[in-house]
């Protein structure tokens, strides 16, 4: 609520409150040249990270649900990107992606997959992809565990029944596993949308060398408005903060509504 109040205020560069401006900050927000790009970035960032994470996690969870030697170790290993601090992970990836020192370029060029190194974090064409890859990497553990827990609640008998009916493995997966996994998928999707939308450290750290706002999401843009751009305006930034909170609430509501609607139809 203090955020709402801040969004209605006028602030000096120093942070000093200079009185109320009503809804003017919101009007100015809409006028910002960078806003369409930033919103588009945010949509791509959230949609792709969450979609790819869910797909990969489904496969990973299925794999970890199998009995195989060393399963315990693999399960533990998967926690590592989750347990490490986001900033440290992001910094690590900055070095992996580096044009001159990065492992990635070194590996790809040595293997002959690339003719010349790529400036992954500097080239406008690759920055978003590079950030999304890291976003997926850090979202996998949590999502996989949610889905794994979901898989383990599916009783063995339903699979036996499917086998008796002569269903193929793929058919079993599509008709038995996925529907029963739906609650877990739902939880994973909603939580991921919220976490990925709010994710600051990855976008901030991987994008910190690029001037302007061409690769920012609404969260990093909000920070730049307040402290790192010529605007230097806490009130305007708070206005975007309010919009962010509303946007994520709305997105989750719409998603839940859509899912429930489909459930009733089925």
């Amino acid at each position: 609520m203090q955020l709402v109040r801040a969004s209605l205020g006028r602030y000096s560069v120093t942070g000093l409150y200079q009185g109320s401006v009503g809804a003017r900050n919101y009007a100015r927000l809409v006028e910002q040249e960078a806003l369409p790009t930033v919103v588009a970035n945010t949509v791509v960032w959230v949609a792709v990270v969450v979609a790819v994470t869910l797909l990969l996690s489904l496969a990973l969870a299925q794999f970890l649900n199998l009995e195989f030697p060393g399963r315990r170790i693999v399960r533990w290993a998967l926690i590592v990107p989750w347990a490490a601090s986001l900033i440290m992970t992001a910094k690590l990836f900055v070095w992996i992606y580096d044009y001159y020192f990065g492992v990635l370029n070194h590996a790809l060029v040595s293997l002959g997959l690339l003719a010349a190194p790529v400036d992954w974090l500097g080239d406008d064409a690759t920055v978003m992809g590079a950030m999304i890859a890291v976003g997926v990497f850090v979202s996998l553990p949590f999502t996989t565990y949610v889905l794994l827990a979901g898989l383990q609640t599916i009783p063995g008998e339903v699979y036996e029944a499917a086998r008796v009916d002569g269903a193929s493995r793929w058919r079993t997966y599509a008709s038995v596993t996925l529907p029963l996994l739906r609650p877990a998928l739902l939880v994973a999707a909603v939580l991921n949308v919220i976490y990925v939308f709010n994710s600051f450290p990855i976008v901030w750290t991987l994008n910190d060398r690029n001037p302007g706002f061409g690769h920012d999401t609404t969260i990093t843009y909000m920070y730049k408005i307040a402290f790192k751009s010529a605007l230097r305006d806490v009130g305007l930034s708070a206005a975007l903060g309010v919009v962010n909170v509303l946007a994520i609430l709305l997105a989750v509501l719409v998603y839940l509504r859509a899912v429930r609607w489909r459930e009733q139809e089925a």
Binding site: V13, Y100, N198, R209, N210, M222, F227, L231
Partner: protein, 409 residues
């Protein structure tokens, strides 16, 4: 699940209800210092605070904050109506404009004030009155890799821009990933790199009260930098998207780079690693006079009822020659006082910077609009040296915004 420490949290701080100010009138002061180095900053200010408390009985709430978050934390303090009593920052004039600061005469003894070097008194004035007290200074210098210069058949570092282009070409031509000149115009410190190039072509930020960012001379300078990157191809990849610390300096420390603009902390790191045989000289110039950038950081005293005497004593303690000089020497920066200059003159490591100091210029920090212009330059100027970038258009936009910042709030 891990808490996402997002900017949202930062702004949530805005939202925290301002708690009552529990600092009694003269019993405690809040001192906020920027973290210059892990090794020296906290230990120096901690011991200074203890000495101060022993002498005066006034407690010190010392906060050492890293550069990445200090702007935001200070802003939050002010939003919550809990300003520091003493603040160390790289800007001051916006605070002076907002009427938050004591003048130097209100919190310094005449003797202390008289010890300041003139250039730094100039650099701390808002509308003719000294508010920004110099805490330390630094100056840039031209670093070159001796081994690479020798391999490229160069007798010494370039003195002019033409020589620089030739030298950079020869170094770049050595192949094997060598880079002629490392040009960091990414958001971290683009305004510093740009200032130096601009001044060495006879341009400037302002002329009198008027911004002159888009002057023909400056367009020529920025076009020259774009040519270094795109026509001569003697810089690292994407110079508009390279930061200083983890970009240009890192490459120089790795021995890949022939030339770079550095400062004394870079020299300290190079000495510690012992990997690169480097020389330090003057910035090549296109006008016959080499000019470098000096940076002055500030101490400010915030007005609060009943704190004036406590703040005065704290500042006087810091400005005692043995204290200020001990700290500046430990951090590897340059003096801001006449007594400090006398003491540090004998240090050969500092000789190139001290020699450059008389012809060094400061960024226009005395103008409150600079706080916005600086950020605008950081977020914009790199775009001009990318392929297809338009120097005139970029500078025109900066000029327009600077003029608007001047007349606006």
């Amino acid at each position: 699940m891990r808490r996402t420490w997002t900017a949202l949290a930062v702004l949530a701080l805005v939202a925290l209800a301002p708690s009552a100010c529990d600092r009694g009138a003269g019993n405690s002061i809040k001192v906020v210092i920027a973290d210059y180095s892990k090794d020296h900053t906290r230990s120096f200010w901690q011991s200074l605070s203890e000495t101060y408390t022993k002498q005066t009985g006034v407690k010190v709430d010392l906060q050492v904050i890293d550069w990445n978050s200090i702007d935001q934390q200070v802003s939050t303090m002010l939003q919550n109506n809990q300003p520091p009593d003493v603040l160390n920052l790289n800007s001051f004039s916006s605070y002076a404009r907002d009427g938050l600061l004591y003048t130097a005469d209100e919190v310094l003894s005449p003797k202390t004030k008289a010890d300041f070097l003139d250039a730094f008194v100039q650099g701390g004035q808002y509308q003719g009155t000294l508010y920004g007290l110099p805490i330390l200074s630094s100056a840039r210098a031209f670093f070159y890799n001796r081994a690479l210069l020798a391999r490229a058949g160069l007798a010494g570092p370039p003195r002019t821009w033409d020589e620089l282009v030739q030298a950079a070409r020869k170094i770049q031509a050595l192949g094997g990933g060598t880079i002629g000149y490392a040009l960091p115009l990414g958001p971290e410190e683009a305004q510093a790199e740009w200032s130096i190039w601009m001044w060495n072509n006879g341009g400037d930020w302002k002329s009198g009260d008027r911004w002159t960012i888009d002057s023909d001379r400056n367009v020529q300078t920025l076009s020259f930098l774009a040519d270094l990157a795109n026509k001569h191809k003697v810089t690292q990849v994407n110079p508009g998207k390279t930061n200083r610390t983890d970009g240009a300096f890192q490459l120089f420390k790795d021995g890949k780079v022939g030339m770079v603009m550095g400062f004394s902390p870079l020299a300290a790191q190079l000495d510690a690693e012992g990997k690169v045989d480097y020389g330090v000289g003057e910035m090549p110039t296109n006008t016959g006079t080499s000019i470098t950038l000096a940076v002055e950081d500030y101490l400010m005293a915030f007005k609060r009822k009943g704190n004036q005497e406590s703040v005065r004593k704290f500042l006087d303690l810091y400005y005692q020659p043995e204290n200020i000089t001990r700290w500046i020497a430990a951090e590897g920066f340059l003096p801001v006082t006449k007594s400090g200059l006398e003491q540090m003159r004998s240090n050969p490591k500092l000789a190139p910077y001290l020699a450059a100091l008389p012809r060094a210029k400061l960024a226009p920090t005395t103008d409150p609009a600079w706080d916005k212009v600086k950020l605008d330059v950081q977020q914009t100027i790199g775009l001009a040296v990318q392929p297809g970038g338009d120097p005139r258009e970029v500078l025109g936009r900066l000029q327009k915004n600077a003029t608007a910042a001047e007349s606006g709030r």
